[in-house]
Amino acid sequence: MYEKYFEQVFRTVFNRVQDFELAAEITSESFGKALVNIEKFKYKGYPFSAWLTRVAINCCYDYFRAQKKSRTVSLEKYATHDLAFEVELEESDKELWLALLPEALGKLKPRELELVELRFFEGKSFAEIAYILDITEGNAKTRTYRVLKRMKKHFKRTVR
């Protein structure tokens, strides 16, 4: 289990902390937690890796909360093709979009951020995202698009 999923879990954690040592530490903690609670995993049509992701993300937020640290957000990813398409971003708008992003993202709750990142950066299905974040699939879909709409609105309002 450790050998097979280490890289995947590590990358999930690393994307959120952007610190190699720290990511290693939280990854170990995630696996420790997963080992202890492995009997709680029940197959519900989602891969085991989704369960591990769920544990790892929760570990990350436990850390942020306990250490009063900030979650790292990579701005560049928010200008990728898929997301730019969703918020109807022109190629020429990208620089402006990147400049405005911190303000727009700062208003989002961690869970809303997770929705967007899991969907667009990690390419997960809404069903899997729903399982990871412990919400329903319909809810995951609605909330993701609501967040995008809000970001779009914020951008359009500031530019005009």
Partner: protein, 232 residues
């Protein structure tokens, strides 16, 4: 929670990640977590002892919980009353339900014991189809019932000018005799629509009650009645 924004994110190479593997650290972490585990299981032990002492009470509680599952009693309280009359009606119903509940308790307890016996007998054999809960349904078929509702439903004349469209969600009980009762509106579209929806469902008399182990049971059903202007 605050965020730290970075323009460009790092992507560590697979080799570098490989070098971070440290299974012993994960094991250490798991040990510290399992220590918590021990304390919580010790707590669980305490609870079991308590429930042993209060054994008889325990059976009653589990009995009523099972009643929700087996009899399909509606676990969601209905919120919006239609008007004052239905409010009073609902309260009356509530009172009578409480009454029935306490009467049924002894019966349920008996049922639970019976079920336990059945379980003991058939633990190794597959599920017996008699044990299945069959939900209440309209006769001869659900399609026929929906067609009936479609045919009978009339858009309230009083509101024709307002051109309101939408749906009313009605919850109702099909009792052991296959009669509908206890109509409640869980999603209202205004008084006239609510009354019309209830009137139409009330007219349909042909119901098959729910059964559990072949024995008739009460069941709660939910129906969405949609009002559109095109059909009228």
């Amino acid at each position: 929670m605050s965020y730290r924004f970075v323009r460009k994110s790092e992507t560590p190479s697979a080799e570098r990640i490989e070098s971070a593997k440290n299974f012993n650290e994960a094991l250490e972490a798991s040990k510290s977590f399992s220590e918590f585990g021990i304390s919580s299981s010790a707590l669980k032990g305490g609870v079991t002892i308590k429930s042993l002492v209060l054994g008889s009470v325990g059976i009653l509680v589990s009995g009523s919980a099972l009643c929700f599952g087996v009899l399909g009693v509606n676990p969601f309280p209905v919120k919006e009353p239609v008007n004052e009359d239905t409010k009073i009606e609902q309260q009356l119903e509530k009172n009578s339900q409480i009454h029935i509940d306490s009467l049924d308790r002894a019966e349920i307890k008996g049922q639970v014991e019976q079920l336990d016996q059945v379980n003991d007998e058939f633990t190794s054999s597959p599920l017996h189809y008699e044990d299945l809960l069959v939900r209440a349904s309209p006769l001869p078929s659900t399609e026929a019932f929906l067609q009936f509702v479609d045919r009978e439903l009339e858009y309230p004349k009083e509101l024709l000018d307002d051109s309101i469209e939408g749906f009313v969600e009605v919850r109702f009980k099909v009792n052991r005799k296959g009669e509908t009762e206890d109509f409640k509106i869980s999603k209202s579209l205004g008084r006239y629509f609510d009354e019309e929806a209830i009137r139409v469902i009330k007219q349909y008399k042909n119901w098959k009650p729910a059964t559990y182990s072949g024995e008739a049971q009460e069941d709660f059903l939910k129906l969405k009645v949609t009002f559109t202007l095109d059909s009228n």
